[in-house]
């Protein structure tokens, strides 16, 4: 699964650390999501959606092997 978190974060000029604090997670979690090494839970996906004010579908897209 791909995501556009890095782009969305750049639009809002947020650092990984700032976003992690806003979401109440570690910076490693944000980094791993951005690098597609970790697929977040629905709860985290909805938190991202609320912070960036865009639908979850705009963040995450399924790939062929998903």
């Amino acid at each position: 699964m791909k995501n556009t978190l890095k782009v969305q974060r750049a639009i809002l000029d947020l650092t990984q650390d700032n976003l992690a604090k806003l979401m109440g997670v570690s910076r490693q979690t944000i980094n791993s999501i951005e690098k597609n090494r970790y697929v977040p839970s629905t709860v985290l996906a909805l938190k991202l959606s609320a912070i960036f004010k865009i639908p979850v579908n705009d963040f995450f897209t399924l790939e062929e092997d998903d």
Binding site: V25, Q28, T29, S32, V43
Partner: protein, 147 residues
């Protein structure tokens, strides 16, 4: 009590057990216990008639490692939970492989060096120590890989 209530209570107990963790401050305590027990284990070799203390120190060392293993990170989130689960799974599999391979390796070495040809077994401490160390090492490694 209805069957559904019993099932719900059982599920709630399992959830509690599954989510059980110690606070981050326990990590330091765990390190102190484990390192202290390890130092005493080394020191024990220089004391005569200290064989009785060995299983006690083994137990204390295992408790120390277990406390480290169960302690939360400073920021414990779902990602850390996922890394922890991966490390437990890997440690479990490695411990089984270790338990299967260790007697054969011991036997091979005994034959190679013309020692006692009996199949040598190992105690619970070796397996549990190996399992806890492997779990902690995999957890640290996985955390380091995702920095």
């Amino acid at each position: 009590m209805s069957k559904q209530t019993i099932c719900e209570r059982e599920r709630s107990h399992l959830d509690k057990m599954n989510k059980f963790q110690l606070g981050n401050q326990f990590k330091k305590i765990g390190y102190m216990i484990a390192i202290g027990a390890f130092i005493l284990m080394i020191g024990r070799k220089y004391i005569e008639d200290s064989e009785w203390i060995r299983p006690i120190l083994h137990g204390i060392l295992l408790i120390g490692l277990l406390v480290i293993s169960l302690s939360k990170e400073k920021i414990e989130d779902e990602f850390m939970d996922s890394l922890r689960s991966q490390s437990y799974r890997l440690a479990f599999l490695m411990a089984i492989l270790y338990s299967l391979a260790q007697p054969i390796v011991n036997y091979g070495l005994a034959v190679l060096f013309n020692q006692n040809d009996e199949l040598e077994y190992f105690d619970y401490f070796q397996v549990l120590f190996f399992m806890l160390i492997v779990q902690l090492m995999f957890f640290w490694k996985l955390k380091g890989m995702n920095k």
